[in-house]
Symmetry: D2
Subunit: 208 residues, 4 copies
């Protein structure tokens, strides 16, 4: 895989779904993610990358899944299985702790929170592409959850829309090693120009 260099002016960090339901003890999905997330130290790596990006004065963007609200899906004629699951589980329920961003990942002033997405891609039916363009961004460093759904869909969309993407492989997690493998080893190498470790991206940002 080619080594990617980052021009600070056109590079941004994209943090995907750092909700309590995903990455906090007690979150609705945490127990299903815990094994993989603890094995690769996902949460503290996410935080390391976020801090390194802020330190390097990169712009940070957040792509957040739709928070569940009553009535969201009842009238839909067509629904994807992953949306039906979100409906059943009331994942990221609006107004609850699970639907809040884990405190260490709270956006700071000047950081951009895109409108919420309804399925897995942070780009689909949101203002993420607009906000990236308004800030002149062409290169994305992606961290967050879940590897084979939101991360992979967001990276596939990013590549289709013309962005150059780096994925930080130990700052993401999944339900199982098999799903991590499908995302990180089978699919993402087609769409991400680099798949790196936290150590590697932190070093690259310090040098940029």
């Amino acid at each position: 895989m080619a080594k990617v260099t980052y021009e600070k002016e056109i590079t941004a960090l994209l943090v995907i779904d750092p909700y309590n339901d995903f990455i906090s003890e007690g979150g609705k999905i945490w127990d299903r993610i815990r094994a993989v997330a603890e094995a690769n130290d996902c949460v503290s790596h996410m935080l390391q990358v976020l801090n390194a990006a802020r330190e390097a004065k990169l712009r940070t963007f957040y792509a957040l899944h739709h928070r569940y609200r009553p009535g969201d899906y009842e009238s839909w004629k067509y629904i994807a299985p992953i949306q039906k699951a979100a409906w059943m589980r009331k994942t990221f329920e609006y107004g609850t702790w699970g639907g809040e961003i884990r405190p260490e990942f709270a956006p700071k002033p000047g950081e951009i929170v895109a409108t919420e997405h309804w399925c897995s891609s942070g780009f689909a039916n949101t203002d993420l592409d607009l906000q990236l363009k308004k800030h002149g961004v062409h290169q994305l460093i992606v961290i967050g959850l879940i590897a084979h759904t939101c991360i992979e869909s967001t990276v596939r969309f990013a590549a289709e829309l013309g962005y150059e993407v780096t994925v930080v492989k130990d700052a993401t997690a999944d339900y199982s090693d098999e799903e991590m493998h499908a995302a990180l080893d089978v699919n993402l190498p087609n769409y991400a120009s680099a798949i790196v470790s936290t150590d590697e991206i932190v070093a690259a940002l310090a040098a940029a």
Copy 2:
């Protein structure tokens, strides 16, 4: 997985990349696909589904990858790895036999060929979504190549854009069983409402 029923008026077949380079003896990629494609009888299943759809008077759409032309990529500042590979290989070269649709899959009058896509999703940067809406389509039956790239990206996009999708699992193929597994078993069950065999879809269409 829920059983899907098809309303003919709003259902279409979507055929993805039935190029000689992919599915004909002598095509540039055929040798890499052959093992999986022959094991599941991919090409004749694709043809069976196409015939069944035509028989049932479903509208058929084609999503085709960009045919390589000189100068396509030289001036791009950003390029995804899968696009770089297409560039190097000159896959589906315009004006050559490899960039032609395998004859049995040639579109008939009244069938819709979407504009070519640049990466893996038949929806990205094309008129496929428009053409589906102009024909009142909400349900898609998807066949073609390659499972973990174009099929999966097109299905992910279809779900994000609001379509209900069925994938025909033995009317697609891939470079290896591992990649087939990542697409058909790990990822697509989140985005496709049904993943069925050729026999199943042919029976469902005959009954519709």
Copy 3:
């Protein structure tokens, strides 16, 4: 202009920007709109159409402009003049009365409020297209403000995306007759299949 008939199952009402700032006494923009809006009885016509649509059991959707929040535009490298004006005026300021929907137009349960748009089109960078597809909608009846900006851009986008549009000409308003004329007489006849009066649409919906 061809007479349009409405299939209830696939037709929706789209209400654009019924904010206090636009259509309530005391709103930031109301004084600039008042002359045209009072001359054609815009607000009570909007209400008549909304009631007729609800009566006829059409699904109703709301396309709402971004509510101003501090920090929205400071970091943008590129900004359109109409966005700069919204920034300067703090139009539809979040958390203020001006940024609330005029009470008679409050969405009811089951009605869909799309994510906020940043410029003039209710479709751009929002989930409006998705929500329409999820509900099987292909025909739109459009009312609201302002004729030559948000109405016209939303209708142009609707046509580009494949929808069939009806505009209710006395359920919209503008700063001047010249701008109404540019929208209703010069431009919209290219993109809207019908431009009708409130009386005409109310009768058509009663008969549908």
Copy 4:
């Protein structure tokens, strides 16, 4: 209107629909455009801007309307009036002289021709946004036809998608002064950051 400065690296010329049918003696639409186009010397201004952009080493992009082909619209359930007119007139018929680019405007190697658009916006259902991003473009200089349809829709879309736009007011034309006025004076000032003359843009490009 604020003075716009152009960074060459991120600025492109966008040429819209320089078809014989529009701007050549004998073209299907030319007789309806001729009065306005001759009054403001549209065609030679378009050529001046194109030459100045090439001289300044700006990248040039072409946004072209769909060329009519038999069968295009017969199966559409929904069609906008402007599309119906294109169908009836067979405007820009594929394989005919009218559907060719006027020779002086032929794209040169390295210039990018976007996929054809179906209605008025060069961005809708095409790869124009992708191609602009792949080349790092954020600022657009727009010339071509017709002011109140394709130019205005393309500029409205460009603004919605995050681009900064300059329109060259004497390098466009229309059926009548009223339609030119609606586009150039009423609507485009909301979406284009600058509306300039050919002399002004040629001077600005020479200085850039």
